[in-house]
Structures are given as C-alpha cells and as structure tokens.
C-alpha cells in the first residue's frame, strides 16, 4: 500500500489535527508506516491550510504527497490546488464551499456532502475535520474505526472528546449510506 491523502481547507478547520489522527491510527496497524505534514499561512484563523498523510507498507523516503489518492476539499482554493495532481482516487468535498466545475482525471470519483453545515450543527466548524475522517474511513476502509476511536480518545481529552467522537460517528454513518 502507498496511500497519499491531502486534507485541504482553511485555518480553523482542524486539518492539522485530523492529519495527525489519521496517520497515528494507521500507525497502530502492524507493518504500516505513516507520515504527516501540515502547511498553513501566517494566520491562526482563515487562510489556506493543508495537511497531508502518507500511509505505506514500506518505509517512506519522500514524506510529501506528489499524487493524491484521496483529497478532502473544504475550500475552493484547496480543491483547485490539488485536483490537477490526481490520476485516480476519490475527492470528498463540501458542496457549499467547493464547486467542482473542472474535474480531475476520468478515474477520479467525486463525493459531495454538506460537511461544514453538519459540523456547525454539532457546535463548531472545527468538528468538520473529524467528521470528514468518519466519512473517509467509511468510504475507503483503509483505517479501522476502532483504531481511529482509540487515537481520538488518546489525543483529545476533556469535553471536546465526546463532541469529536459524536462528529466521527456521524461521519461514519454518513459515509456508509
């Protein structure tokens, strides 16, 4: 396996944390290597933010994504920046924030959801990334939901833990439909 994931959106979407959660959940599986990067602008809120994850059955020499297999697009800029790099795989996007007028290669599959709206309904837009992780795990089956839950409980403590778990479960249910 060599799975390249890009989570893209705006500062404040929690993408750095989501990338870390995804990579650490993969790391729980025997024999899998995972790396994660994050890049963002100088602002704490708003501006482009992106986190990438590579999960591989072999040691990872080059830790940066060159050809995404999965793109989470929560902003138009994030989408525009990444879809031209795709030769196949899956785009999960927010239907309100992203218009996928121009599409990637023919082998790329598109799934649109109201991710940001659902996150706001849970209580905060920041839950959008963990909600999206639920959808991604359900759609791809690459990460065990129990591994993701274990990492979520380990990494997030306090009152936000339950909200994040709820967001994750909602994502799982949405992705399974």
């Amino acid at each position: 396996m060599y799975w390249q994931v890009v989570l893209s959106g705006n500062g404040g979407h929690g993408l750095g944390l989501a990338g870390e959660l995804l990579a650490r959940a993969a790391g729980l599986q025997r024999g899998l290597y995972a790396v994660q990067t994050q890049s963002y602008g100088a602002r704490a809120r708003g501006g482009c933010s992106q986190s990438t994850v590579i999960i591989s059955s072999q040691e990872i020499l080059y830790p940066f994504v060159e050809q995404p297999d999965l793109l989470l697009a929560l902003s138009q800029r994030g989408y525009e920046r990444n879809y031209p790099l795709m030769r196949g795989g899956l785009v999960v996007y927010d239907q309100e924030a992203v218009r996928v007028g121009t599409r990637g290669g023919q082998a790329v599959e598109y799934k649109g959801y109201n991710l940001l709206r659902a996150a706001r309904e849970i209580g905060d837009e920041i839950f959008v990334s963990v909600l999206s992780l639920g959808i991604i795990t359900a759609l791809t089956g690459k990460i065990g939901p129990e591994d993701m839950e274990e990492i979520l409980r380990e990494r997030i403590s306090g009152p936000r833990q339950e909200q994040n778990l709820a967001a994750y479960h909602q994502g799982l249910a949405t992705g399974k439909v």
């Binding site: 870390e20 995972a34 790396v35 890049s39 602008g41």
Partner: protein, 373 residues
Amino acid sequence: MATFFWQGNEACAYGAMAAGARFFAGYPISPSSEIAELCSRLLPEREGIYVQMEDEIASLAAVIGASVGGMRAFTATSGPGFSLMQENLGFAVMAEVPCVIIHAQRFGPATGIATAPAQADVMQARWGTHGDYQMLVLSPSSVQECYDLTVAAFNLAERFRSPVILLTDAALAHLRETVTVSDTPPPRHCRPQPEGDSALYRPYAPGPDLIPAMAAFGDCYIQRVTGLVHDEQGYSSSAPAVAAGLVRRLQEKILLYQDELPSPVYTGPEEPEILLVSYGISVRAAQAAAQRAQAWGHRVGCLRLRALWPFPEAVIGDWARRVRAVLVVEMNYGQLRREVELAVAGRCRVSGVNRYDAEVVTSGEILAALTKS
C-alpha cells in the same frame, strides 16, 4: 525502546530534554513556535526554566547567562530572529559559552514567507556574526535525526565550549514521523571543570584539546566573561600576540577535532557514477531519486551531510576522485554547491539542483537533472 509520532519541532524539544537542557529562553516565531510552546510545558515539569523574552537579542543573552551559570541552555528561532541573534552568537563564540540554537529556516530574506520552507541560511549560520571563527552547524533530515542531532548538539556544545546551531526548516519542523527513543538516557558530555586552588584558576587557559576548564558563576572560581579579546586570565588585551593566540585557539579547538562531528552518511551502490550531495529535508528527495535511478540500472548514490560546518571537505574531496559528477541538492540558489566545488577542486563535474520557490524539492526534479548529467 519507545516509539513516538512526533513533529520535527517536538523531536527537537524532547531531544533537548533528553540531553539535559533545563533552560530555554526564546521568542516564538514561525515555523519554530512549537518548540517554545512545548518547552513552556516540559521545562517546569522538570524543574527547569522557560522564559519568554522580549526579543531574540535578549533570548540568546539569557541563554548565554544560564550557560555561564552552569546550565545546559538553548533557544529556538527562525530567520528574522536568527538575524537578531548574530551579535550574541559572536559573544558566545568569543566567551566560549556552550549553548544550542535551533534554527527552523523559513523563506527569506526579511519576513519572507513565514510558514514556508527554505535552506537559505546555510551561509548565515556559518558567517552571520563578525570576526574570524569556526561555527558548529548540524542539519537533520528526518524527525528521528531532529531528536538525535539535538542531543548531539548539546554534547558538542559542551565538548567544544561553543555555540552549536541545529538547522532545520519549515517542512521538517512540521513533518510528523515515527521516532524511536532508547530507554537509557543518551551519554552526556560535560564541559571540563576547574580543579585545585581557586586563586590559580585561569578561565581561558587551554586544557586538553585546547578547551579551557569552565567554572560556573557562583562557585569558588572567578569566571570572567567578556567579548573583548582577552588573555588566559580573562582580562582584556589588545596585544597582537594575545589576539593571534586567541583566534588561533578558537579556530584550532574545532578544526583539529572536526572528525568528532557526525560524519556524512552514504547510501547507494559501491561504485557510484553520480553522487547526490544533500542535507536537511532535501535529502529525502535525493534519496528517493537515487533509489528510482538505481531501479532503472543507473549507479547513483546519495551522500547525506549531517554536519554542514565545519564543512566535511576531505570526505567530499575523496568522493570527487571516485565519481563522474556530483549534484548538490538544496533549497536555495546554490549556497553549499560553492563549498562542494572548492572541495572537488575540478576532479569531477559539479552542478546543482536548486529550488527556491518556497516548495520542497521533489525526486522528479532531481531525476530530470540526472538525465542531463
């Protein structure tokens, strides 16, 4: 053995803790801020001291003070902050104060792009402060090495009584990878301590390996700390013989023992035709490119530099006799390439793969350059 999934910055902070650092003074700046943030938690837990200073000039000044007091002390910064530290960096060289500066390079000059990577401060790290001196500069290329080389940096600082700069960059600083940490604490090199009659202590008299014994402020020896040219007692002097003796010793205490620094690491075929020379995060692209080229039957090897300064001139010179061409891969307009050219001295062809657009160099670009070599 324990494994962790750390960011480059986190690995630097934990490496510093493992090396026994108990004092951090700094001013948070992207992309190094996580080091300050983490230290503000880790140090109080270990009865250490974290101070958020008013700027980077004061940061390094406080670090120097803590080290003179006997602590292992460090700071973390990025380009604009590193520029402000240059004056005190020279002071630490002159007063022979062990300290570590972690410099997560960002795109410059000036404010540049605060959160984007570059490797453009290689020469600033070497020559940023004025005067005639040697600088110890290490460059990790993985999160594991952020940890390992931070530990090494503290030991080298103590060993050579010198500042040591750890050069990372925005991409490595924010990269998360698995790090393996031994259960036993890493070996610790401590600065030589004075012994005997305190009245006879000469704070700058060279001991073994040209390093003077270093008393701490507050113990029974009088430690004079000055940026002026000074004699062995630590008294200022403008005598040509004193000045020459001091400069010579500051140079030779490092140059004569350069082989104690982490040496370059070669991976690839036994008899390579082309050698990729790289350091820091660029190594990752170089290694990936070499592997792909080897799979296509080409004899391409990769030399990963772990210490940039003093420059491993002899190692590069040896390789120049064995290969047809050297390609220097770095994220700047060609800073270390000139140094490689000097070491190669015309024995083979030298060219560069240079990226300076705030993105990390890719293996594809290196492969494209290889086809032209």
